[in-house]
Amino acid sequence: MALGPFIRDAAAADSVTVKDGNLLTGGAIQENRALTVTIDGGEFSGIHEMVLRSEATSPIIESRPLDQQFAVLKAAEAAGVTVPKPLWYCGDTAITGKPFYLMQRIEGEALGNRITRAGEQPDLAAALGRELARIHTIQPPRTDLSFLELISLSPSLDAVAKYRAYLDVLPEPHPVLEWTLRWLENRAPNAGEAVLCHRDFRTGNYMVNNGVLTGVIDWEFTGWGDPHEDVAWFCARCWRFSAPALEAGGISPRNVFYNAYESASGRTLDVDLMAYWETMAHVRWAVIALQQAMRHRSGEEPSIELALIGRRVAELEYECLRLTGVIK
């Protein structure tokens, strides 16, 4: 069965035509393809701009399977988060060669360098703070999200163990990351409140159209965790792109984002926990960058983009040394 008949059946339509568009930029792990779908009959009758998201050739370990991403996206939509509307998931590899799901295509720009070149955007930062608070209203237990691993007594120690295990399969040693993981291990906080963490909520993973947020995207790393983890990830130096002085995602000072999050969530952010999780953020991105580079180095997916991600690790290690007080 081709894509058209799949959509026709899923949408309970009379007929469907699919016009294949471009491969969308920005998906270093997953592939996103733009489609224009014309549906005749049924509740979806009309012309729809969609995105077909499918698994990369060699996904990294942390990345969730597409069916789980689709379930998380549905839960986020139901919680009132601004997301591209999830439409249909298909696990049948006979249709496009890989599992995929379809979602509404949203208007706007996601490239971090372009967004952060627009200068200070406090309204956008506040909107994102409120969006994150909305994501964090999703809390365990949830039968629809039962595939998410249960949170332990110390999510931070779990993370330290996980990143060490990732480092152990890489061919080279990484002393700076080992130092930072030891620092994090020695200061590990106990588990706090568990919420749904997006785990990649940052500039580059939301769409903006004329300064207005149109959707939070890339839900492949979600899991239960400490809310500070997501707030810290958003503010980490590595996600400020062209505007490093604007500490909330390169779009505003921290307090704008923090205040909006705190007002909407009713939580008070802990300064020490923010510093802790921001340090963890740089280790995590460094480990992911090393894994991304291995997709190229292993010969599985030769790519100049993946190769160069490996050469971003020095920046992340620099931030690790700064955050652990080694570089003043």
Binding site: T25, R164, E172, P173, H174, P175, V176, E178, W179, L181, R182, W183, N186, R187, P244, I304, E305, A307, L308, R311, R312, V313, A314, E315, E317, Y318, L321, R322, T324, G325, V326, I327, K328
Partner: protein
Amino acid sequence: MRSCPNALELLKIAEQTLITEVASDMSRRQRYTAALVASAIGIARRELARGICAWADELYTLRALYHADPTEEPESSLRELHRRLASDLRAGVYDENAKKRTAALGLLCQNVLARLKEDNPRYDKLTTADTSTENTVS
């Protein structure tokens, strides 16, 4: 003795030509890819200019930290000593001994700053970096 221009000089002119002459006639997507290629050439050029060590005293400092044999083959010695340093940092070997920790952390700083100069010389913080090290670890 080889022919000239040498490898580094060729990489430099290849990088410049790609950006100034080739990329200007490309589509937006192609210009992005050309910029990535130029970036890779630039990193390779800076790395080749340095040799096997990221910074001048890297191997000497590592050997001093571990009292290692100075006659060992440099490349494998460098790799092995980095592996040992990583393993010791994980095991907490540097948690207690302040003098050794200062030496080890100083080494990490030098390494990261040298690699930043190769990988992203424009990284803004590089210009304000102070490589002094802390002495307290809980």
